[in-house]
Amino acid sequence: MGRYVAIRIGRAALTIVLVVTFAFVVLRLSGDPALMILGPEAPPEVIAAFRKAWGLDDPIWLQYLDYFRAIAQGELGRSMRDGRPAIQLVLERIPATLALTLPAFFFKVALGVPAGIYAALHRGSGIDRAVMMTAVAGFTVPSFVLALLLVLVFAVQLGWLPSGGQDSWRHAILPIVTLSLGGAAVLARFTRSAMLEVLGQPYIRTASAKGVPWRKVVTSHALPNAAIPTVTILGFMVGTLIAGAVVVESVFAWPGVGRLLVVAVANRDLAVVQCILLLVAMTMVTSNLIVDFLYGFLDPRLRAKGAHA
């Protein structure tokens, strides 16, 4: 088990290194980082100080190492727009994003997983077909279209809910519904196929053949095995909690990380973009790591395989 944990943590660290490298390469390729981070209007002495502080006159490998050191110390640059540290700007926006993504995550799981399991257990039934059709719709209707349709119906036509802003809990309803519906559809489709694959396995037939009641076959043989792929996709969804609402936040003028990112990209506010990129990478890596450990818990075979890998 110790080796398994070590390998996973090693991989997670490697992913972070890759993301930082990606940011470094892209930043260097795109022009003079001093001008990029500080903006074209920065006074020359500030640029000179920046070049010195960031070691931009050093050889490239030294710059690369320095870049790592700076990031490890939380020096992520300042926003071009108001000169505040980028990390502070981003952290401020996180609660607003979580206010949408956490409830949405809950609804996705609460709707999608049971629907997928039910559809798989009643394959070919009317409900199965309904679930599959909804799931396909959830995949083919992009979130911005769904969001605008909801606005059109519930804000414009019926006038029940506000179409954007963040003044009360009612403003959060449409964004949360948008995020939940799309995610639930994906999850239902995924859970269904995971479940169907497990139900086709010989051990399910064996369990049925030896007279185990169907309900027990499902609960103690099918569900635990179908849980493994489902947990993978759930892990990915946890990883997107921080910045998974880019489009939806933009439609509903919700002041979260996603909207900050879009505005920062439009203004080429690189320090903020870089900061969000790293933050997202951290969340993704952490949640993947947790999923890996959950695998070990859910499936002892993987743990054994991991030990020999």
């Binding site: 911005f144 605008l148 489009v247 933009s250």
Partner: protein
């Protein structure tokens, strides 16, 4: 394909499976229509897509002059839609082709060299799969600004890791099979083995993957363009139109509904064809 499988499909075709289900036929018709539109967009379009008609701003759809109405500057929505379809499909096809070629090549390289090369490729696929693509795309756009070639190239990074994984796995198992060993014994070069012998044998699985990646590229591009960060005006794409139409949602929802419907039906059609192909070509991918 061997004789046995040929006979097998011939028998199945004769006895059970109807040639093409209605839904698939409709989907294929739609895609063909889209391709024709993409090819001849500017010839079919009744107006230039940037042509203003300031006296006819925000006209309702259904009138003789403008079938789908006009937008806030009096530009014909139908004409803009047709040109948008061309741009969006151009990006989607270009990007899908890039990611298929890059992914398959990397997968083959990993399968051929194994060892360090394989580890590197696997590490890159893990990395790509573990980062939300939208965030990376936005980061690149922020750093490099925007242009159509860059956008196509960027979208081409989308989904390559799936081809790489599939190509690697299938090529490794194909290498262990008799036919690959036989041509290798006959002295064929590696590139000949991979391109002339292994690729045709695993093509069906790769084609099915293409039908999964293609709609996602359309959705990703339209999402970026919707946010105002993809295709830039005066050029127009489906996502772009939805983005601008959103401003006029209350008064003139058709500006946004026409491109939105096109996006949804197109992705749906490709998915339907993909599902069907998967059932026909590759029973292991259920």
């Amino acid at each position: 394909m061997t004789d046995a499988t040929l006979k097998d499909t011939a028998i199945r075709r004769r006895f059970s499976l109807p040639a093409i289900p209605v839904s698939v036929a409709l989907a294929i018709t739609w895609i063909v229509a889209m391709l024709v539109i993409a090819a001849f967009a500017e010839k079919i379009a009744p107006y230039g897509f940037t042509q203003l008609d300031l006296r006819n701003r925000l006209a309702a759809p259904g009138n003789v002059a403008h079938w789908l109405g006009t937008d806030e500057l009096g530009r014909d929505v139908l004409s803009r839609l047709l040109v948008s379809i061309r741009i969006s499909l151009l990006i989607a096809f270009g990007a899908t082709a890039i990611s298929a070629v890059v992914g398959t090549t990397l997968g083959f390289l990993a399968a051929h060299f194994r060892g360090a090369v394989e580890q590197l490729v696997l590490m890159l696929t893990d990395f790509q799969a573990s980062m939300p693509f939208l965030i990376m795309a936005l980061a690149v756009l922020a750093f490099f600004g925007n242009s159509l070639p860059l956008l196509i190239g960027l979208m081409g990074l989308f989904g390559w890791e799936r081809y790489a994984r599939i190509a690697r796995g299938l090529a490794i198992s194909a290498n262990a099979q008799g036919y690959a060993a036989a041509v290798r014994q006959l002295g064929a070069t590696p590139s000949r083995i991979y391109l002339r012998h292994i690729l045709p044998n695993i093509a069906s699985t790769l084609i099915v993957s293409t039908t999964l990646v293609f709609p996602e590229v359309i959705l990703m591009e339209s999402g970026l363009s919707f946010l105002g960060l993809g295709v830039q005006p005066p050029m127009t794409s489906l996502g772009n139109m939805v983005g601008y139409g959103r401003e006029y949602l209350t008064r003139t929802p058709w500006i946004m509904l026409a491109p939105a419907t096109t996006i949804v039906v197109t992705t749906l059609a490709v998915s339907v064809i993909g599902d069907w192909l998967r059932d026909r070509l590759d029973p292991t991918l259920q």
